[in-house]
Symmetry: none
Subunit: 415 residues, 2 copies
Amino acid sequence: MQAEIITIGDELLIGQIIDTNSAWMAKQLNSIGVNVKQITSVSDDATHIVEALNLAQTRAEIILITGGLGPTKDDITKLTLAKYFNMELVRDDETLKNVEAIFSRLNRPMIESNYKQADVPDRCTVIQNKNGTAPCMWFNEKGKIFVSMPGVPFEMMYLMEEEILPRIKKQFKLPFIYHKTILTANIGESFLALKIEKIEESLPKHIKLAYLPKLGTVRLRLSASGDDEQKLKTEVEHYAQSIIQEINEFVASEEDIPLEKAILNFMAKEKLTLSTAESCTGGYIGHLITQHPGCSVVYAGGAISYNYQLKESILGVKNETLTTFGAVSQQTVEEMAKGALAQFKTDFSISISGIAGPDGATPDKAVGTVWIAVASKKSTVSKLLQLGNKRTQNIERAATAALTLLLNQLKDYVK
Amino acid sequence: MQAEIITIGDELLIGQIIDTNSAWMAKQLNSIGVNVKQITSVSDDATHIVEALNLAQTRAEIILITGGLGPTKDDITKLTLAKYFNMELVRDDETLKNVEAIFSRLNRPMIESNYKQADVPDRCTVIQNKNGTAPCMWFNEKGKIFVSMPGVPFEMMYLMEEEILPRIKKQFKLPFIYHKTILTANIGESFLALKIEKIEESLPKHIKLAYLPKLGTVRLRLSASGDDEQKLKTEVEHYAQSIIQEINEFVASEEDIPLEKAILNFMAKEKLTLSTAESCTGGYIGHLITQHPGCSVVYAGGAISYNYQLKESILGVKNETLTTFGAVSQQTVEEMAKGALAQFKTDFSISISGIAGPDGATPDKAVGTVWIAVASKKSTVSKLLQLGNKRTQNIERAATAALTLLLNQLKDYVK
């Protein structure tokens, strides 16, 4: 079963808004066995919308449309759909009640454009939108399903979950789709490919392998589709385990989660705690970790020791170390890690000190020179990174490298 | 001048990745006077890519393509483009040098698939990608411009900024576009609109005003397009100054910069220093600040005091305060700010303590309860926020609110 997503709105085409709706919808559709063939963003222009509708139905059975349903003049999706399907706009009582209820709740008077929100094409199925004034419209036309939804993310999400996905599942016999993701760290995409070449070649046609690289990590995703749910799961898990066996030392997680979440899960399971001592990453590692609910079981906190003085006062780095070797040095970064471990009373600590750039280079240390360290009661290990000259990327790459170093130390620690 | 964006990759169509590239590219193209007609995401499938290419050139003069250029078998963009334009793949010496340099820097051996990254269609213009192994390819074919770029955001961004946009500007006569952005904080969109209603109504047709709200700040953007550069600038600046006069107390910056950068500029000019004491934001404010080059003139660093112990040991919050009032309280957040000021020896400090959620609520404190404070030698002010139940949004909103409180205190301080 093929679907297409059409998102409508000038704000998408001038880059004012990132289209987060499509990825969310695609993920939901995939999970019920509907394949998304194409995502198309078009402007609030009737001719262009019609062209997109014409083309989408040559490729897909289900066309999901978001946006362009507001009360202002630039929103023309409803009118365009009515003309496209040769329908008349008629006022819908249920919708009107919904609009009136919303305005009464907000204690605001209704103007003419608000009443028009209750006008719908006469042969569509109206699905009430409890979270907003624009109704959702379901068309069964030309042998295809067309659904028009509001572009406001939470309105669309609610309608998809409560109404659209259940209706699609009811109307079509869908295949089962199974995904398995393996998160790897510390190995490049091409090396991974080489290591699992034979497994990849042995995959049956209905199981696909994708490489998804991102700043020092690569996610491997096996996807299979078919009718027999149990058989698919068993098959995919079999190949996944073969891959994991082959690249075991590089596997950070067998779930589709980010690196820091894999570390949090690992440490929570082992009842280990963590602190951070960040200089050039300026709190980014702390931020990555604390995005995840429940991180406080593992994470105690840390220092953002951006200047010399804080490295000394909070972390206990010796003044002599800083003046002799500099802030960006193996000696300093190891003292930072040891200091964090002692001061913040955790089982592990990460430290980072480097030149994120674009300024700050010295005659012997280029922009992109970063030292990272991980300390535990058992050992302190450190590593020199030579990154590029882009500040934001250096911060992200240094954080990923430090988290990878931590993961490796954790694996050794519990051996 | 019309452009289209085609993003290629199965990961977009199964919703594993949100297409952030397109919005960024659209914004850049808009800023040089190129209009984006459509954004299309297609799978790693040759027939589908060719169909998208055929259709895009019926609507646009410039077609920008991202993705599908990795070294693995599922990446077929380069091969598809070569066939589409009837070109042979030939090894490019410059590209090979670049690939070799990257592998040598990473200290990794090259395998066959890495060498293939240096193969390019024989009649395209190769643009070197300093940040990755996939070259950028510029095709001048069928009277149109086609550009293929890697999908990795920072590689694409660098290529767009340094190579593609300058080449487009050189090749086409584009209208002059002038944007002026005013960053406001501490005022809602509809209140702003009411305050500048008369100025907005008096704007000539070729000058447009847009409201761009984002978590506690609203950017006002005046955009004008035309041929007379000097005249446009003078006109837009005139209206901008009228607006600024009307809403002066809410203006954070007259440049298109984020709130924290406006603060850094202000503090650098006044030779003031800053430290942070973050609990529920977990380093996010530190991260926002340290994204900006040169921030070390202002920012000393800070504490991520995620647990009780660090609030006491680094920031000197009294144990009695924590046990009596709790970590999320006016008393604690003020002691955190004062502690940071004293310990980190800065002119100003920000502190935050709250319940980011989804867990952690207590009978008297709901998820989204956040206290923020700003301390200086002159005063300590604090504020209670009642945010929602989304963790990520709470972290971002709390950070923006704390930065806004700081900005207001700074304005008072230098009066």
